[in-house]
Symmetry: C2
Subunit: 171 residues, 2 copies
Amino acid sequence: MDAIEAILGRRSIRKYEDRAVEPEKIDTLVRAGMAAPSAGNQQSWRFIVVTDRAQLDRLAVATPYSGMLTHAPLAIVVCGDTTSAKYPEPYWVEDCSAAMQNILIAARALGLGACWLGYHPRQERKDEARRILGLPANLDTLGVASIGYPAEEKLPSDRDVEDYVRFDRWE
Amino acid sequence: MDAIEAILGRRSIRKYEDRAVEPEKIDTLVRAGMAAPSAGNQQSWRFIVVTDRAQLDRLAVATPYSGMLTHAPLAIVVCGDTTSAKYPEPYWVEDCSAAMQNILIAARALGLGACWLGYHPRQERKDEARRILGLPANLDTLGVASIGYPAEEKLPSDRDVEDYVRFDRWE
């Protein structure tokens, strides 16, 4: 799929077919995440590919708005390795958000649908991820991409440039 | 350009040809940013398109590692509107990082090269953006995309999945 079409047409997809995502597509999705830029090239992103039904069901009830994981065949959890940090500031949030966005666009390009389930900065959600996924102290959770073959269609968002964009100065 | 190729082949490009970016490409870049997801669909991202030479030169010296803006024909400043927030947590950082990443991928797909110059969470850099761009109190700066026709080539990053990915649990 054309890159601009993939970016402009991406929507949050929460309904999926009862159909597994092929291993080669999963490999492309994590490579997309690993191709994200990072502050000082610190490469802080880490990924947990979840296809185990019991683990998906645990994630589905761990946080609000995650119920679609009960019928998603795949989740990719995006975490930041805070020990990889080159700087004292928490740039891992930006690194991991870029990786998450790459995964969402790649999913659409591969004929899949995906939705970003936000964990950071809510501590109670990140505690649940730590418990379910066995995360060590150095890994902090940005969020989870819920992924599958789409069972719903959405039109691209229709937004006016004038509402979001200015030129050379804001005011 | 194919979406997966655009994602996997994107690199930080810091050298540009002495050539303007066409208005229709600038329009596509900001629409790519506006197609990013956002927490609770709050659409917190705002964009300042900078092509004015004096403004680009001011941004070039405002923060470290931004010198390439002295020969870049275009910068897109990505800001978050904190008054658009649906939640008390600063989700705008994630919203704006997704928008930034969309712009970087779209740039590559359009034959351009781009580099993410990080501002947030460094207050002194954000103060400079506020001063130069006339930002009101409700806009906070994530960072700046430096953009132009590439005058350097880089191979895709070569990274091992085993270093970044685990399955079903971390440990």
